[in-house]
């Protein structure tokens, strides 16, 4: 890459990269280790979990046989290539660990490229003895360091199951991370907004997941063209612990180099702060007239994106419901996990309940993102002139909160409709199951409102709350965590619908808690100084 840079503009294109890299790593000294820890933990905890579920070789062989005939579960986690604990680990978490590394990488790269330009900070940095491509290089190197550490941890942690497979999985996960790091680097050249760059790259990641899922539902050995179109499909086709196909790494490396080269070429050809998708002029006069209208204008893009995502997720999960339940039904331990997540009545219901519960957890991310728009408006200085008009703080906040809390209901409703389309039965109970998630989602939103109102400088800690809830909900049931830990999450108290009986008590209590949290947050907001 250095050679490329030299050809295009002298030897000083990369000046300052080392300083910028250290600076980037210092700014991310919390975020990167946290992502790596979560990702590595997910992978490294899996052999133990699987051993508990499928203790004997016979049980494992049985599982593999069933997988070969179950297209729905293949779509969700990919095909299984071997019955060793290592192979099953790679099967069960490989794609998800790769996707997680991809999210981490795209966040890191956009944060140190387009984010910096959009905020105007880059201007000052670039005026120093800093080469034109130094910031991009530093951002990619930061992502590379993070992915290398992750690969190292995975390889070392799984070496007990076999060194070659551990290395293949580690490199595959890191490779998927770097593919999306370089993709984010390209997208960050194209858009003017960091938010859009993150959104577009995440959409590509989502598409990659769907392509692989579609391909794997049709074939049981990952050989579908659709699977090969997806970088996550390459990760699965590396086949760690099942006769590693090392040459697939070349695909990952090739994509990284190619995308990196494109990003470098684009970065060298454009003006600072500008993009290849320039901003179009807007209307000379506007119709916006209230704080709520402004909030809607700022958030409508997000609402649209999340709506599409939740509807499609509903369709996909709904579509695989029946087959998945069949498979799990044959394994007592897997059945126990699903039942712990989704309730005790019929397995189809339990599967539906656990899938809907997962979407509920994801909706908690939406509500935190949406509530924290208040924080973003405030710290960017855009709230100040709005509040200097005849707009009370409560009305200003209400505009965003209605979208956050109402939006959560809206996307869960769409997920329910998606399930109805994909599954085709039980429309009423499925919709009810989606909506029953809302009190728990609202509690998480309420925590965000409370933090923003009372401890505004710690408002982003709401992300930590959402992450903890997500972690408890996703891996809690599989890890046999004590009930007390599961109970910390508001989602642990929800009735298991469909199938279980509706319990109004916890729903009412959670809704009441959410109301109190929001009221407390708003009371704090009225009383405190605005951040400047």
């Amino acid at each position: 890459m250095t050679a490329f840079a030299v050809r295009h503009g002298g030897t000083r294109q990369l000046a300052g990269t080392g300083t910028l890299l250290r600076f980037a790593l210092r700014r991310d000294r919390l975020m990167i280790p946290l992502w790596i820890a979560v990702d590595a933990l997910m992978v490294l905890s899996m052999p133990g979990t699987l051993e508990g579920l499928y203790g004997t070789p016979a049980e494992r062989a049985d599982l593999v046989r069933q997988m070969e005939t179950n297209s729905s579960l293949r779509a969700m986690v990919g095909p299984v290539f071997g019955d060793s604990l290592g192979a099953l680990t790679a099967w069960r978490v490989g794609i998800y660990a790769g996707a997680l590394a991809a999210v981490m990488s795209l966040l890191v790269v956009v944060r140190h490229t387009r984010d910096e330009e959009e905020s105007g900070r880059q201007e000052l940095v670039a005026s120093g003895t800093v080469g034109r491509r130094a910031s991009l290089t530093a951002a990619l190197l930061a992502a590379a360091v993070a992915n290398a550490v992750l690969a190292l941890l995975v390889t070392a942690g799984l070496a007990g199951q076999g060194a070659a497979g551990a290395l293949a999985l580690g490199l595959g996960i890191a490779g998927a991370g770097m593919v999306f790091a370089t993709m984010a680097a390209v997208v960050a050249q194209l858009t003017e907004s960091a938010r859009l760059a993150r959104g577009l790259t995440a959409a590509v990641l989502g598409t990659a997941f769907v392509l692989r899922a579609a391909g794997d539902s049709g074939t049981d050995d990952g050989s579908s063209v659709l699977t090969w179109l997806s970088p996550l499909g390459w990760l699965e086709n590396l086949r760690p612990y099942a006769g590693e196909r090392w040459w697939v790494l070349a695909l990952l490396a090739g994509a990284v180099v190619l995308q990196g080269a494109v990003a470098y070429a684009l970065a060298g050809r454009r003006d600072l702060g500008m993009s290849f998708l320039p901003t179009r002029p807007g209307p000379a006069s506007g119709r916006l007239g209230t704080a709520s209208a402004l909030a809607w204008r700022l958030q409508r893009g997000g609402v649209l994106g999340w709506s599409i995502g939740f509807f499609l997720a509903g369709v996909v999960y709904g579509g695989m419901t029946e087959g998945a339940a069949d498979l799990v039904g044959d394994n007592a331990n897997a059945r126990r996990i699903i039942e712990r997540m989704g309730g005790q009545s019929g397995l189809t219901d339990a599967f539906l309940a656990s899938m809907i519960g997962m979407l509920g957890l994801v909706a908690a991310l939406w509500i935190v993102a949406s509530v924290l728009r208040l924080h973003g408006e405030e710290t960017s200085g855009r709230a100040e002139p709005v509040l200097a008009n005849a707009v009370g703080r409560l009305r200003w906040a209400a505009g965003h909160l209605v979208i956050a809390f109402g939006g959560a209901a809206w996307i869960m409703l769409l997920a329910g409709l998606g399930f109805a389309v994909g599954y085709g039965r039980q429309m009423g109970p499925v919709l009810a199951a989606c909506l029953v998630q809302l009190p728990a989602v609202w509690v998480v939103g309420g925590v965000a409102v409370l933090l923003h109102g009372v401890l505004p400088r710690a408002a982003v800690a709401a992300w930590g709350v959402a992450g903890a809830v997500l972690l408890i909900g996703w891996i809690g049931p599989a890890l046999d965590v004590p009930r007390a830990v599961l109970d910390v999450s508001p989602f642990g108290h929800l009735p298991k619908l469909p199938g279980g009986s509706m319990e109004w008590g916890p729903v009412a209590v959670l809704t009441g808690v959410a109301v109190l949290l929001v009221a407390g947050g708003l009371a704090g907001l009225r009383r405190r100084d605005m951040l400047t």
């Binding site: 000379a284 006069s285 506007g286 007239g289 100040e384 200097a388």
Partner: protein, 298 residues
């Protein structure tokens, strides 16, 4: 005379930093009031208290006869504010922002908006991120000047404007004054202050150090005198209020507290005056003195 703004004994701390330390400020209705002080003196903090964005730890503040914290919305109906650092939404055009601010305040004079857009040569179709600093400032200025309010609070509003646009800004402020509106103008541009402001308040370290008309302030400072005398000067150094006396033969240079000028002139004329230049302090000297005292205090 009614007061648009009355502030007394305002204190505000951020953690251990003391931003305001007993600040007083009075702005009469209908005047253009200059609000001056070195960086970090507490000007923006004061303005944010006046807007009810920050709550003072102690002290009293009234804006248009109301408490800016408790009655923020009512007060804001009659206020227009231009921040020193205007941030816009990336995906909203300047025109949309102007209209939004106008409506949020309770109405905008469409004719005046068009006229101001023209005068400030503002392209209202561009979107937030594509405006330069000066143009972002113009968006906020057009929104402020086009609204029908009693009080304009302007926090270094011209820091990004070119000289032509600054001239337009000055005309606009004068028009506002002619309509009987009150303007609180925080500024570092002394010519702007001198031209526009009826009275000024200078703050430093969170406290008001001087307040009054520019003539009053000048009176408190030194006048420099250069004289050519007929005979040797006599007794000048003993006079009260004389500083930096420099006598070379019959040529005398000195600085004198403006209120002691009488005595110096009397003493000079006793020796016979051939030529005399007396220079009132420039605004720059006046401010430098107030600003630099801070350095001496440290």
């Amino acid at each position: 005379m009614t007061k648009a703004i009355t502030v007394s004994g305002l204190h505000k701390s951020f953690g251990r930093t003391r931003a305001l330390d007993g600040l007083d400020l009075e702005v009469a209705a209908g005047e253009v009031h200059g609000f001056l002080g070195p960086n970090g003196a507490g000007k923006s903090t004061t303005i944010r208290v006046l807007l009810g964005l920050l709550r003072a730890d102690s002290g009293a503040a009234q804006v248009l006869g109301r408490d800016p914290w408790a009655d923020a919305v009512e007060v804001h109906r009659r206020i227009a504010y231009v921040p020193g650092d205007v941030t816009l939404w990336r995906n909203l055009s300047g025109g949309e922002v102007i209209d939004l601010y106008g409506r949020l305040r309770g109405g905008l004079d469409a004719g005046r908006r068009a006229e101001l857009t023209e005068r400030f040569e503002l392209d209202t179709t561009k979107k937030g991120r594509t405006y330069s600093k000066g143009n972002r400032q113009k968006v906020a200025l057009v929104a402020a000047f086009a609204s029908d309010v009693d009080l304009l609070i302007l926090d270094e509003p011209t820091s990004g404007l070119d000289p032509l646009m600054e001239e337009v800004f000055r005309r606009c402020v004068e028009e506002e004054r002619d309509r009987g509106r009150t303007v609180l103008l925080s500024s570092h541009i002394l010519s702007e202050v001198e031209e526009l402001c009826d009275r000024v308040s200078i703050i430093r370290g969170g406290r008001t150090v001087e307040s009054g008309s520019l003539a009053d302030l000048r009176h408190l400072t030194r006048t420099s005198v250069v004289a050519e005398l007929a005979g040797p000067p006599d007794g000048l150094s003993a006079l009260p209020g004389v500083h930096d006396l420099d006598v070379r033969g019959r040529r005398v240079r000195l600085q004198v507290d403006t209120e002691r000028l009488d005595g110096v002139l009397r003493s000079l004329s006793e020796s016979g005056v051939r030529s005399l230049t007396s220079t009132p302090p420039t605004l720059e000297e006046l401010f430098l003195r107030h600003y630099q005292d801070e350095a001496a205090d440290r």
